[in-house]
Symmetry: D3
Subunit: 327 residues, 6 copies
């Protein structure tokens, strides 16, 4: 009974909410077509229901579908960027990857391979987590597709550059250290944004700096404002192929209670969205939104925030792709 | 990335949980195929996201998808009846009907027409509500398909045989009065099960009796037990084409907090399932499970109960269909 | 904009739900008139928002209004007893007593005086708590009005016959010991029903027995059934003026999560209602429902249970009063 | 047992919290007198329990009483404006309108007539919703009483100027388009404040602009600050009779989870209150606070925010009325 | 500031609640001494915060501490068995095992070694889970200490005798198959109690039967009652060293919402406690209570039920030990 | 099984999270040693589970342990101040005071005596409440130890300088009036920060000013920013011995729903933390964080905020102590 709308741009758009209420039907991201309903995608939204890499509250395995449910309210025109992303390019939802919850190493390989498969024809991925462990295989695939190390904007309360935890190399606290070690990041252009809260020791910061990371703390965002934050980030990254990884715990727990390792003093959802919109025109080759843990969410506060974040990521990509095509 | 399993019976069964974790992918009922993935169904599960007929707490518009989410845990073999329903017959999920929330009369027509369309080739419906208003058009379709008035087992805390409410004829408190008036029920064989709680007046009971309804209260179930309850119900209904309508508020609020008009002193989910299993072999031509209001649910208590109820309804139908086919 | 209905019995009944939806307007118990809207009451429902006597989870100060909110769903005819209580006698809601939260002794005096004032013309009280501390002043008033010590049925997970706690004589764990000491209970006819869970020592039971209490545990109710339970209770109490005190924690936490000292293994709301209905015809001179702590409730499970309990208490009183009047 | 305080201004003020604890008694707004307890009001608070016009999460039918419950904490002196509103003018609570949930057209007429009745003697209304559908009949009444089209400040995440939805003209997404069409708004002086989130298309904005609306987005409030926002709004509206309609979803979901169509990136409750206080001295002839859906609230976060908003609206009106009287 | 009470039996008992309120201080099980505060224990309560073996909702890693918090209400005398367990024998809380969340195999070894260490001097363990994976290493230790295969009573909605899941041998669905394979169970005396809900296929039952398991379903408990259930179980097990493993999901979701794989139609907490008490005198050498997932609990319903279950397990052991000592 | 880490500074630090997962073991504040595990402390964290002084929602008696649970995530290095507080000085958790819930006067004496005992050797206290009543005895002890009246920074939505409430002198609304009357505050240097919301009358402000209090409202923080706020506060207080009392309701309900008397329009957790960090170098002799009421919290939003606040208070003290020692 679904009725997908052919957009003015010729792409297959979301289910028509004037005919089928938003709460009806299965929830794909933003009520977009499933990937099997379109021939080819420019941007693919995909879920990774995996949380075996968490060190505290688990539950992000249910995150992708939670964000999809909350995304029922997303409409097709983004006034903040004056763009109709689903009209400009073909966006579709590829559903969830089938990932082994009992074997982290196998899980990482599956994710990497799936990501490569989904991008073999040039599509870009916006991935819904899952815990932050998944950023590593996604970055591997993104840099392989880019043909070079990628720049990274990492929005998070935490650094996620720890080494090992209980002997495990691949956890939600280590993806970016591994990525640096593997040479898949362009260490001239990697930054954390929104960090705050206590660390294990000053060595955490020293290691992080040594890897090449810049840090814009939550306090920095508060004190210098969005525009200066954006200017610095753009300055550092320039034209490089850019991957954006957003741990939803970058938001204050007031804006994202549904996550595994909350820290007080975070940025607001408005600040995050404003910063993202400031990235317009950059060469965004891949992105993820991770660590949404629905069992701790309330009234979809976190799910709604994550869905808007993902929507703006899609909009940025759609804008860049279509501008380039047109240009 | 979905992988549906072809069952021993040749039907297309649920997604294989040994390959794709239960929490992954979109939620169809019991992870069954979508209706567009099969050629023909014997039993069709369909949702009706409509709650504009409620007199107290709204929210059942989100009920069908909530039950689907909770149904991820359902496995394909039903040991209580020793049957693998999805192997015996083809069951599929038709998604949700697109129903107008602002016009009850139009909504009822849409539901009736959809139900007729879905059953044109002999398939039987198990409908996930939505509020109880929807039972009327579903009964209309069921009796039209049966070619005669149908018997009714109505599990509910309430009678739902009120006349009008604020001038409205079609609400969640009136479907069975309307159905009697329309002559689509076989009034020799209609019963409420599980009623309790205060009424407006003794006239409610008198009207109800006049329409032909028998009543097995929650107290009766408690005092006479499941087997005697079942025996009496079977006795009354016999071989007639039977429609079973289950308002989840028939369960005690402890077992079903997520509903609109809760009443203390209800039956347990175990009692309800035992009674349903007692209906084995009866000619169940249609069924619904209604009034699941997720905003009031907790940890899917209500969703899980409703999913088991719907699963047993499907099992009963599958058993009857396959037995008849084989016989 | 309220419209109270004059009942067939000439009493002023609840707001007419056919004209004003149940969710509209201020919540008096069962949408009954406020006491200032009637000339005289036969039964008065009153709230006591006090919880300074609790030893564990506080919050019962919000209990009375929570029960009133949940009581919006109560309709005026009680089919379980075939009685329209508000038609038979005048019932009204006296609102809440104004009780000092910082001084238990003063609070007890206020409650006692208010209870006496509300019953000066022969009205009987059904009190909504508040914590169990309030039973003592309510019993004082009830026995003073009865002119003799009263019989007591005490539904509770606990004995509430402890001596002192942190030096305090008047707490929610001590009212019935105090009542025995004050000679306001007829110790030939006092029973606990529904007790379970661990105690401090065997001496708790010995003291309790010495005071004269009989005990019907939750296990006893389960094993001997409702009818035998009722028979034994009636046998013991006979015709005496009877006070019924119901701690909502007598229900299993599944049926009453919203309370301060939950114990697993409790009776169901159906069992409690069945036992209460078994008290028909007894000389019920006063009653309370206490320990509803809304901050721990979910979807009004506890509030709905308590409202049905209070409704049946009112029905029992109304039946006895009107039968006596008629007789 | 209620004790209303006669204020220094001679008006009947709220219940005295030094004698009756805030959690005791029935909840009128800010514990003010019921309208039947006073002779005449200057400002009347009234509830409209209606949510049949919602397109997503229902439940605002319970909103007015939820805000009243949360308003128990409001004290009578407003230090932010240095005013004791209940002393300056007579404020009372008229309870809830009795509105048909099954017939939107009838509901709108009822609301309009009730609003006219309540303002026949010059009183101004502060209405607690209910969904945003109710703004249309309230605006009709306001402009009829004003004798001219009124200016409008509309705080909302959404435009609410859509045309029809499922064929329905009167829903919570359409009141301000209808109001423009009916000529009851002074289109020189109408503005949305706090909008954000995706739309259906750029045409939404074009239509809106054509109707005359100005827009101050949530992003604008963030970037230009409260004072500049206020200055622009005042500039546009001047001395005109002004109606303020506040959809609580103008607040970020962190500040107002209990609503039906949440959007991330909203303004804070502090920003909203600061803007409102900036309206001091304007000719505020009517106001509403709508879309509070308690089933999605937590710990009264939304209820408390809405109660403070309503309190400041009352304060603004009281200040203007009393200043004019004195002047 | 803690004050532990020396009991009449000479053992160190729980913190004295007459001096330190139950809500004060750190939560050991039943406020018992920490293991470092006593010289030797007869019974040791220990937590295993591990949930990396779950196939659906994770979170049981927080289970042990949740049960401890809920156990603050447990008092030292168990009237249902007329025993003061902490007086009879020394019981203490050993805190939590430190288990690797990222390596199931290592985790199992750690648990096994810890269990052996804690029982080296003859103490018996009551373990608080953690997911059901942990039963395997606990059974290994129990049978090693018993010097023979042990009998097993397994309370659960599920069989937990599946083979592998995603290639993993050790998960929460497989411990008892592994235990049979390892020869650590006395297959003449192993039973599931409380099972219900769908399975993958009839082969699940066939395998299970082949391993030697008896099954008492939730339906059986309902139909045959507690006493007959107990008689059959005792009959089968006799005098053998017995391990009792209780998955809290054996309870209906109404009684235990806080768990990972809920199934409707379960037994009540009263039934479970009655069955456990029926095991009095049996040779209970070890026990666990697992699968409490606090993120899904409400108002500690599940935690309280689990704490009572653990308390009765301790009481059974204490009774048997002290009787044997005395005998 | 606990393993405390000896820090580089020679002090006993928190449990090593690389060996024992953060969710394992009993929760002391920040997983620090218990006071009985160290010889002497420089800073002692202690809980006061007392809430008998509240005028609205109770429940803060559970606050201290809730904050401890949320503090499991705190790591030992504070990057915002570039300090490892537990390395610099010895910090330990003294558990909870045993306070009488039924006698406010006795409770206050117990708290005062306990505070004196805990500081007899020069240790400073960071106290976790409990309701705000406890600030009075804590201030008495602090000024006695300081040998002079202390300066006060009071973060709160409310003034807490009311006189009596229902005749009670010692409640959560009166501690600072009492403290002024008792001469234990240096009235040249006392300020409220973050106040907002209505008062009883202008006299509240006049009294407060007369006592010497300065006020920085939530609106002031918003308008003048953190740095100017800090500068003014430092200016006023200078070198005096300073006590910081933080009612968690100073935060907006979005950031702290779990509290008893929430007011909209509050400061954010980021603002609060930034202000606290601005106090670096001041002579902080004592501090408390009060009014955390867990029953109203969600996903530990409030607990996490309070834990970060307490952590920064400890960091400030540790910095000042160690700087002084070194200096």
């Amino acid at each position: 009974m679904e009725e997908l709308r052919v957009t003015a741009g010729g792409n297959l758009g979301p289910i028509d909410s004037a005919r089928i209420p938003r709460y009806a039907g299965a929830a794909t991201f933003a009520r977009l077509p499933r990937i099997d309903q379109v021939e080819k995608t420019d941007i693919t939204v995909v879920g990774v229901p995996f949380d075996s890499g968490v060190s505290y509250r688990p539950g992000a395995r249910f995150g992708a579908n939670h964000v999809r449910e909350a995304s029922r309210l997303l409409r097709p025109y983004n006034p903040a960027m004056d763009i109709s992303p689903f009209e400009r390019v073909q966006v579709a939802d590829a559903g969830d990857m089938a990932v082994n919850p009992f074997n982290i190493n196998e899980a990482i390989e599956t994710i990497q391979q799936n990501a490569l498969d989904l991008t073999h024809d040039g599509a870009r991925l916006v991935t819904l987590g899952g815990d932050h462990t998944i950023a590593l295989p996604l970055l591997r695939a993104a840099s392989e597709r880019a043909g070079e190390p990628v720049a990274l904007l990492h929005f998070d309360a935490h650094l996620d550059t720890w080494d090992t935890y209980f002997g495990a190399e691949y956890t939600h606290g280590t993806p970016f250290r591994r990525a640096v070690e593997e040479g898949i990041l362009d260490t001239e252009a990697i930054s954390h944004v929104g960090t705050r809260g206590p660390l294990y020791g000053v060595k955490d910061l020293e290691d992080d700096r040594r890897f090449g990371f810049g840090i814009v703390t939550s306090s920095d965002v508060f004190r210098q404002g969005v525009d200066e934050t954006v200017a610095k980030l753009r300055d550092r990254i320039g034209n490089r192929p850019l991957y954006v990884s957003i741990d939803i715990d970058v938001l204050d727990p007031a804006h994202a209670p549904g996550t595994g390792t909350p820290e007080a003093g975070g940025i607001t959802s408005r600040e995050l969205l404003e910063i993202l919109r400031g990235l317009r025109g950059m060469n965004l080759v891949g992105a993820d939104v991770v660590e949404v843990a629905p069992a701790y969410d309330h009234a979809e506060i976190t799910g709604v925030a994550a869905s808007h974040v993902a929507y703006d990521l899609v909009s940025l990509m759609a804008d860049e792709i279509s501008t380039r095509k047109d240009g």
